[in-house]
Amino acid sequence: MITLPRLRKRLLLLFVFLSYGTLACQPVTASQTNTQSATIFAAASLTESFRELEMLFEETHPNVDIVLNFASSNTLRAQIENGAPADVFASANMKEMDALIESGIVAVDAARPFLHNRLVIITPAENIANLTTFEDLSRADLKLVLAAEEVPIGRYTRQMLANAGTEFSERVLANVVSNESNVKQVVAKIQLGEADAGIVYASDTVAVPELVVIEIPAEYNVLATYPIAPLTDSPPAHAFVSFILSPEGQAVLEKWRFTPVQ
C-alpha cells in the first residue's frame, strides 16, 4: 500500500526527472544550430595558461565552445590512441607526439612546437644560503635537491649542468642531497625550506610565488619543447591552434612563465 508521504516523494521524483529532461534538451538543440565545439587534450602543466587562452578565444569566437581536458601527456596519448574524441593534442614532450605520428593519428607535418619550458633555480623565501647567481650552485656548503635522473626534468638538469662544463657539473652534483621522484617533490622540499636550492621548470614556480627564482644563463639552459597538433578537420580546432601560435596567444603563455617560440 502506498502511503501519502511515499506518494508525494514519488511525484517529486517524477517531477525532477521531467524537468531535468526538458532542461537538458534545450542546450543540445541550441548547440546544434549555433555553437561548434572543439575538445583540447593538453598536458597538466598547461592547466592555468590554457584556461586563460580558452576564455580569451571564446570572447572573440562566441559560437565556439572550447572543451579542455588535462592529464599527463602519456595518459592523454593513450586516451587518444584508444579513440577519445579529441580535436587538438598539446603535449609536454615530443615523445608522446611522435608516438601519435608513428601510429598515423597525427599527420607528419601537423605537429608544431608552440612553447618552451626552461629550467630555473629556486630557493626558499628566506634564501638562507644567500644564493644569487648560477655559479653559486657549485659552492661547497650548499644543499641541493634535484629531480632524479630517471624523470625527464632530471635528465634535462644534468644535460644543462654538463653544458656549463664537466668540472662545474661535478662540483654541483656533489652538493645534491636528494634525487626526488618528480619535479613537484623538488618544489615541495624547497617550499618547506629543507634544502638551499632546487632546479625546476619555470612554469612550476607560478603556483608558489614566495620562492626566489634565479635564471640559468641561456647558453647553458635546456629547453623542454611542447608540440601541438590538430587531430581532426574541425575549423574551430584549427582556429584555436592558430590563436595559440599568434603573438596574443604567445603573450599569455609567457605570462605563465613559459618561453615563447620564435
Binding site: E150, S178, N179, S181, Q185
Partner: protein
C-alpha cells in the same frame, strides 16, 4: 545451537560443498601468489645474480640492513618499557597513549613522511632548534631510521604489550611476596616469560622497517648510499634498470618470507 553444530559438521564432511570454501579462497590466494610468481619468473629470465650485485643494488641492500636493524634496536630499547607499562599499569591518559601508539600503523606513509618533515625538518616545529646545535635530519641516514621507527616500532609495542599482558598475574604476586622490586620482577620474571612474543614482535618490526617507502622518500629523500633504501631503489629503478628493480624485489620478498617464517616458528615453539 545443536542445529548449528550439525550444519558445520555437514559442511566439513560433505565434499560436494567444500568448493564453497575452497574456490573463493583460491581466487584470493591466486591474487597474492601470481604476482610473486611473475616476479620470480621474470628474475630468472634476466641475469639475476649480476643485477643483484649491481653497485646501486648492493648500496641499497647494505643501507636497508643497517637502518632497519637500528630501527629494531630503538624499538626494543625504548618500546619494551612502554609496552610493559601499557600492559601492567593503569594510569591517567592510558587510552590516549594507546591510541598514539596504534596510529602510525594505520596512517598512510605519505602522511607520516609529511608530518615528520614539518616536525623535524630544517624549519620544522622541533627541527629548527636542532639546527642551532648543528643537527640537520632531512636527507641523512638518521632520517631513514626515524621514518622506519615511526612506522614500524608500533608493531613491536603492540606484540610486546600482548606478551606482557598474557603472563599469569599470580607469578607477579609471587615475585612481590618474595620481595622483588619492579626491576627484578621485570628482568627475572616478565622479560623471560614474554621472550617469545618480544622476539616475534621484533621480527615483524624488522620486516616492516625493511619495506618502509613512503615516509622515507618524503622525509629522508633519495640519495644512493645515504637514504636510498631497497624500496626506493626499486621504485626509482623502474626507468633506469628494470633488472635491478626486479632483482632487489625478489631479494626483499625472499628475506621477508624467511623472517615471517622465523616469527611463526618462534610463536609456535
Amino acid at each position: 545451537m545443536s542445529t548449528l553444530r550439525i550444519y558445520f559438521k555437514h559442511l566439513t564432511s560433505d565434499t560436494h560443498t567444500n568448493w564453497i570454501f575452497v574456490l573463493p579462497g583460491l581466487l584470493l590466494l591466486a591474487l597474492f601468489g601470481i604476482p610473486l610468481l611473475a616476479l620470480i619468473l621474470q628474475a630468472t629470465q634476466t641475469s639475476f645474480i649480476e643485477h643483484a650485485l649491481a653497485r646501486e643494488a648492493v648500496a641499497a641492500l647494505k643501507l636497508s640492513l643497517v637502518t632497519s636493524l637500528l630501527s629494531v634496536g630503538i624499538a626494543l630499547i625504548l618500546g619494551t618499557p612502554l609496552a610493559y607499562a601499557l600492559a601492567r599499569w593503569q594510569f591517567a591518559g592510558k587510552k590516549v597513549v594507546e591510541m598514539l601508539v596504534d596510529l602510525p600503523v594505520v596512517l598512510p606513509p605519505a602522511v607520516a613522511g609529511l608530518a615528520l618533515l614539518i616536525a623535524f625538518g630544517r624549519q620544522g616545529l622541533v627541527g629548527q632548534f636542532f639546527v642551532h646545535i648543528g643537527i640537520q635530519l632531512p636527507f641523512t641516514s638518521a632520517a631513514v631510521v626515524i621514518a622506519q621507527t615511526f612506522v614500524a616500532a608500533p608493531l613491536y609495542i603492540r606484540a610486546a604489550r600482548i606478551g606482557f599482558a598474557d603472563i599469569d598475574s599470580q607469578l607477579e604476586e609471587a615475585a612481590y611476596v618474595e620481595g622483588a622490586n619492579q626491576w627484578q620482577l621485570f628482568s627475572a620474571v616478565m622479560f623471560p616469560m614474554a621472550g617469545r612474543a618480544l622476539t616475534s614482535g621484533a621480527i615483524l618490526t624488522w620486516t616492516r622497517a625493511l619495506g618502509e617507502f613512503g615516509a622515507t622518500i618524503l622525509f629522508a629523500g633519495n640519495l644512493e648510499g645515504v637514504t636510498q633504501t631497497m624500496p626506493l631503489a626499486i621504485y626509482l629503478g623502474f626507468e633506469r634498470n628494470l633488472g635491478v628493480a626486479i632483482a632487489l624485489s625478489v631479494v626483499l620478498v625472499g628475506f621477508s618470507a624467511a623472517l615471517l617464517t622465523l616469527a611463526r616458528v618462534i610463536e609456535k615453539e
